[in-house]
Symmetry: C2
Subunit: 348 residues, 2 copies
């Protein structure tokens, strides 16, 4: 009789045992047996009692045995219950706080660098893989475009979006880039590009401008092409993965690690995983992520707010047996800071 829904309310002792099992298993990676549990926690009951309780937790679906006569391991539901009810949602550790503060301090003022940095810090801290998404959405607008000539036929172009993403590249033209070309370019840009969502600035859109520009279309083309490339790369910067090699050290994955890495390296499914998160901090355990490749992994997605809008995310991906108790506060603290700093950087 598994799934006694009515017995939802676990006795105090069951809760304690479940919590201990989860925490011990997270720590050691070995299935925990009744004896081992008492040894490690100093509980003042006998192993037989613990065994009975474990047995019930087992049939309630919170624990399971890899095989008869091995210790218990938390099931997905076990982790879920732990995360939802048992975990002491403790504040972030003073040391990690310092590490984070120190780490981001070098990138204050530049959103992109800040996000990259936060990904890196979090990967080091959690020893898991991290994913960040830039604060880019449907409504990321092109805010400014600058073209600075560096030679007769070449110029550097810089593009700034409404959320602080800055993209730049060199571009060359076959015709001279002189003051009159620039003037025309700024005219076109001001009229048809600035203020538009980055996603709309496609090569096709640029072609529709041909009529408006008439004779000068071909001299402006190299510059306009560069604009589309920059606008496109704004979208690219959306999803970045870091620290994936951390996952290799987890013996949990065994051979499967390679397949997982392969999965993570493809951005479409990964993006899907991240985007399907709910709420400002979402923990998805094992098969709660609908991809089979993640059945042994948990994904924690935390959103940061820029100007009050939850636009970007920072995520941690690791084995289901990850240290939720320290990772969750860390990622929450990190997203708070990142959101605050970006908002601040964007103030006029």
């Amino acid at each position: 009789m598994p799934d006694k829904k009515e017995t939802e309310a676990l006795s105090e002792r069951k809760k304690q045992i479940l919590a201990n099992v989860v925490e011990l298993y997270i720590k050691t990676g070995e299935p925990v047996g009744s004896k081992g549990l008492i040894d490690a926690t100093g509980m003042s009951v006998s192993s037989a009692t613990v065994r009975n309780e474990m047995n019930e937790l087992d049939s309630m679906g919170y624990l399971e045995q890899p095989h008869t006569s091995a210790g218990r391991v938390p099931t997905q539901e076990g982790y879920r219950y732990y995360v939802d009810h048992l975990m002491k949602n403790r504040e972030v550790d003073e040391l990690t706080k310092r590490l984070i503060d120190a780490g981001v301090s070098s990138a204050v003022g530049d959103p992109e660098k800040l996000i990259a940095k936060s990904r890196e810090i979090l990967a080091n801290l959690t020893k898991c893989a991290t994913v960040s998404t830039a604060p880019v959405g449907e409504m990321t607008l092109i805010k400014k475009i600058e073209v600075v000539p560096v030679g007769a036929y070449s110029a550097m172009m810089v593009l700034l979006t409404s959320n602080g993403i800055l993209k730049s590249r060199l571009c060359r033209s076959d015709t001279e880039i002189n003051a009159s070309v620039l003037e025309k370019f700024y005219g076109i840009a001001g009229a048809f590009i600035i203020g538009k969502p980055a996603a709309e600035i496609t090569p096709v859109y640029i072609q529709t401008l041909a009529a408006a520009i008439e004779g000068d279309y071909f001299t402006l083309l190299p510059l306009l092409a560069a604009v589309t490339e920059l606008a496109d790369s704004v979208g690219d910067s959306r999803l970045v993965l870091g620290g994936s090699s951390n996952l290799l050290s987890f013996k949990d994955y065994g051979e499967g690690a390679v397949a997982l890495l392969e999965f993570l390296s493809r951005s479409e499914p990964l993006s899907d995983v991240i985007n399907s998160s709910r709420g400002s901090l979402d923990v998805r355990i094992g098969s709660e992520n609908k991809y089979k490749q993640l059945e042994n992994s948990s994904v924690i997605v935390s959103k940061y707010s820029v100007n009050g809008d939850e636009t970007g995310t920072i995520s941690v991906i690791g084995p289901t047996r990850m240290d939720y108790e320290t990772i969750i506060p860390s990622i929450r603290y990190m997203t708070d800071i990142v959101g605050r700093l970006i908002t601040q950087a964007l103030e006029e």
Copy 2:
């Protein structure tokens, strides 16, 4: 009696056998035996003859047996001899040529993007890890700095170096960034920063400017700090690793793959490996790389020339059992193209 140096000149047949063993082993990954070798190559001698020859190649140090009564595997010296004398240095395959041409075409005109792209292409082509270094050296000069205000207190700053590297970031100031501040900044920049090597623009150097700027130092400080960060990041972009997860699929490494990835992810030793290369294309096999972590790997470093100077490199790192015969021409072709395109992009 190993190492008969006097017998340096291998008989024609020995050469052929060595070449076949190396190629077959590269292809299959299994130690090759006398019988298997004839089957695979259709040589018209008996297995016993091949065995005798192999035995000699063995005592000359070119082949070895993982254990008695297994087939032969090339030693490091075996690979070396193969690469130096036996490999038909054939031209790059028509298909790969197309792939490379098509791949880089999207990045023509922007050195940084071009290099990133080439790394990616080469990783896909070779299924190995790739490392690129930007064309940055002691003499990479700051060529241009632009500051574009985007608000009263914030601006975007763009920095261009003499070799086409473009770096940008947002920066904020506590004081207003108005025309007069900008004018002063450009004055300082023109006098003390433009034309200097990027590596010299350190926070310390900026402090020495305080005297020259006098009262305005503090209003300019945020901008100057941003310059040092950008100048610093020019150096950062020097070394980038890609495709490292490719290495996981090689069974050659077994468990060691993790350690190798860890090694590659640290940039100091990696940079040392790359920089100790000689000549325009250097193949280092196994322990020829002085790091123990690379004893089962080969590194191929190829330099590209910008304006005739061999400044940057593109490298491939993989197991010693890599397909030298196709990889070497590919990387050579790639560096040729990259060098040519960057040189072209930098023309005035």
